[in-house]
């Protein structure tokens, strides 16, 4: 299958200027790839840099070395060297991300938040799909017109998931997508990931829940913690 995402020598170092310029290397020489229809689980002990890797893949953290190749509109593009405008376009069409926290404009209804994340879909279709996804994730239609600020943690995470899945983007990055979900909702998310894979979507995720990981992941990518070189 086609390579959708590949890193070459990816490195990430944090320099904390407010703490006397202490340097914290987190990633070094990360080489990994994920192909269409495949799910790679990033694993490693707490603090080893799993989330740092996922955020770097999304362009949320700036890579300090190496390349991040993403198949965007049919060709491989180095996200690590792409100007901001290109990253925005890659995220709009190619790269989806489900974070652990929902960050949205206050007062915007859950349905609109999800519908707005759809790709170039007509407005009405986006709203229909958003409603269907939210309902599938057990967010009752009664809640769709409400802003999610007052929702429970699990409900907010499911709004976030709906937002990540609605665009059918070819590469999906998931940061602990089932962390605050009960068993029933967890199984629904597992099913959604399996369906995404069979439609050819490449998935990279952090799954602390080993049951979930066994069900969705084809391979593990193990991160070994770097020694502090400070």
């Amino acid at each position: 299958m086609t390579v959708m995402l590949r890193t070459e020598g990816l490195a990430k170092l944090f320099v904390l200027h407010l703490q006397g310029g202490v340097r914290i290397p987190v990633l070094r020489d990360v080489d990994f790839e994920v192909r269409a229809g495949e799910c790679v689980a990033i694993s490693g002990p707490s603090g080893s840099g799993k989330t740092t890797l996922l955020r770097s893949l999304y362009g949320n953290y700036r890579a300090d070395g190496g390349r991040i190749w993403v198949r965007h509109d049919g060709a491989l593009l180095n996200l690590a060297a792409a100007p901001p405008r290109t990253v925005v376009a890659v995220r709009a069409r190619t790269l989806g991300y489900v974070s652990q926290f929902l960050r949205v404009v206050p007062r915007v209804p859950a349905l609109d938040i999800v519908a707005d994340a759809a790709r170039d879909m007509p407005h009405e279709e986006a709203r229909r799909r958003a409603a269907a996804l939210l309902s599938r994730l057990n967010i009752s239609p009664r809640l769709h017109p409400l802003p999610p600020a007052t929702f429970s943690g699990g409900e907010q995470q499911r709004v976030n998931l709906a937002r990540g899945f609605i665009g059918d983007r070819p590469v999906l990055l998931l940061d602990e997508p089932t962390a605050s979900l009960d068993e029933n909702n967890r199984d629904i998310v597992v099913q959604m990931i399996i369906e995404a894979k069979s439609s050819g979507i490449a998935v990279v995720g952090i799954f602390h829940d080993l049951v979930v990981r066994r069900k969705v992941a084809d391979r593990l990518y193990e991160i070994t913690p770097l020694q502090d070189a400070a």
Binding site: N60, V87, V105
Partner: protein
């Protein structure tokens, strides 16, 4: 500069006496994009906004603007009359204090209609219909169309200013702390309004704000200014979540978590 760059600034410098307000600032804006300029007060962000919108002439440097026909113009070399025409139609400016833009002795509908008339609209019925349409777009009861702005609350005045600005469908809007001085509940409503109108009408925005949370919610790209210099610029969430410059790290770490 690319073929579709809407606005580009190169080497802008401006001094207030001995105080440098802009020190070799470069900036670029593309159609439909929201660019936030952040920094503390006195960092030069409002000066930059005024220079980019030709309200202030830089000591040196140039601002290029691409007109709807695709032609580039040196903004500060344009005749005053052309600039005024730009400000009346193709551009908009949203001030922190709506009273700077609104005419307080003219009705709400008149404030919206006036900009249409300045652009050449003459048919009273059409102007009034469009004013009503825009009042409802910004969630002001069209029944208030004949009321004077001084009977409006601060949040309503700000929404009226936005209606007056957007009625001519500008391609480029400059905003100076558009939600500053408003209650947080009113602020949230206004943010939602700006976000949806800007996306729907595909307007490019230069947004000056000291509030990093507002920049995160509205802007695709961000520029961080300190003492007249751009110390960091890039993708909004990358700059805020992985700040590289000591000053940006300080700004981000100083934000109170609600």
């Amino acid at each position: 500069m690319t073929d579709d760059t809407l606005l580009a600034a190169r080497g802008l410098t401006f001094r207030f006496g001995a105080i440098p307000a802009l020190v070799s600032v470069d900036a670029e804006l593309w159609p439909g994009e929201v660019l936030a300029v952040v920094g503390e007060s006195g960092s030069g962000k409002s000066t930059l906004l005024n220079v980019l919108s030709a309200r202030l002439r830089p000591d040196s440097g140039v601002v290029w603007y691409r007109d709807p026909a695709g032609e580039l113009h040196d903004l500060h070399a344009m005749p005053e009359s052309t600039l005024r025409a730009l400000h009346r139609s193709d551009w908009g400016f949203v001030h922190q204090n709506p009273r700077e833009n609104l005419r307080m002795t003219v009705s709400a509908g008149g404030n919206v209609g006036e900009r249409l008339m300045a652009r050449g609209a003459r048919h009273y019925g059409n102007i009034r219909a469009e004013a009503i349409e825009w009042l409802s777009q910004v969630e002001i009861d069209p029944g208030r169309i004949d009321d004077l702005p001084r009977t409006f609350s601060g949040g309503m005045l700000q929404r009226l200013q936005i209606a007056r600005t957007l009625v001519t469908h500008p391609r480029l809007v400059f905003m100076d702390e558009p939600t500053g001085g408003l209650d947080v509940s009113v602020q949230a409503r206004l943010l939602d309004l700006i976000r949806s109108l800007v996306a729907r009408l595909n307007i490019a925005v230069v947004l000056v704000t000291h509030d990093l949370a507002i920049a995160r919610l509205l802007a695709n790209r961000i520029m961080v200014m300190q003492r007249g210099r751009v110390v960091e610029a890039g993708l909004t969430d990358q700059v805020l979540d992985d700040p590289q410059h000591p000053y940006t790290q300080l700004l981000v770490s100083s934000v109170l978590q609600a």
